[in-house]
Amino acid sequence: MKFGVVIFPGSNCEQDVIHAVRLLGHEASFVWHGDTDISGFDAMVLPGGFSYGDYIRTGAVARFSPVMAEVARFAEKGGPVIGICNGFQILCEAHLLPGALLRNQGLKFLCETVTLRVEASACQWLDLPEGTLVRVPINHNEGNYICDAETLAHMEAKGQIVLRYCEADGSRSASGSAPNGALDDIAGICNEAGNVFGLMPHPERVCDPAVGGTDGQAFFTAIARRLSEVAS
């Protein structure tokens, strides 16, 4: 099982992903944004950061990197792709996932650990049972997820809503539990097929017990198991 971790100019979470994935016993290596060959990878990761300085819009420039055409082709064929934070923003800009990410509602850069509720979804990356609560850090200025009502209803029907922000006990506040104001408390979504997954929180930062928890491990182990099942 080999993960490819794309580095865009301004990515800054690629080392964390590599560390997490290797800790879990898988191979991982960096892929430069100018590369056009990603054969040899079983899964692709678009890490967090501030690609191209977040100019124009977050992810707007990175989506036109040469490697993204390959990532889109890989995703099209069912290859597993995960976009974390800035990676999620890039996947939305590339239209590999629906919707967009706006400035946080309170205009504040958010850096805190939040509670997330796992929803019943088609997501191949995360097969924790519905209702599982995980504690994962967020670290972003544009995490306010938005899409139109029709898209939201469609995503709901197709099981594309993977994670929601919630209170510590798993409930959702009537005034919204998303610290960034995200529509319907959405923290993570997938495409209809479930192989492309985007989320604002950083599971790679809670994989090593030495640095604050292991709730993020399930975000990487499920896909590895699934791929080895397919292979055997």
Binding site: A60, F64, E93
Partner: protein, 82 residues
């Protein structure tokens, strides 16, 4: 050369956090007449003139300068010197 000004704003119904903040700040300053404030982006672009110039600028907006999922844009030809 042809010059264009591009105004990018959020689509109707999309929450605009900087606009909402400016709106509250103006109310705090006593400007009770303020109904709503929207904050968008202003882009100046200079391109080689030609029959397709405007069409190409529109394409640039759809592809990169604006995100049609959340934003509208308006293009205005600009005669004055930058």
């Amino acid at each position: 050369m042809a010059r264009y000004e591009i105004f990018v704003t959020y689509k109707k119904g999309i929450f605009d956090p900087p606009g909402a903040t400016a709106e509250r700040a103006l109310a705090n300053l006593g400007y009770d007449e303020v109904g709503s404030v929207k904050i968008g982006k202003y882009i100046q672009i200079e391109v080689a003139d030609g029959p397709n110039a405007l069409m190409r600028v529109r394409e640039m907006c759809d592809k990169l300068l604006a995100n049609p999922v959340i934003e509208d844009y308006r293009i205005q030809s600009d005669e004055k010197d930058w």
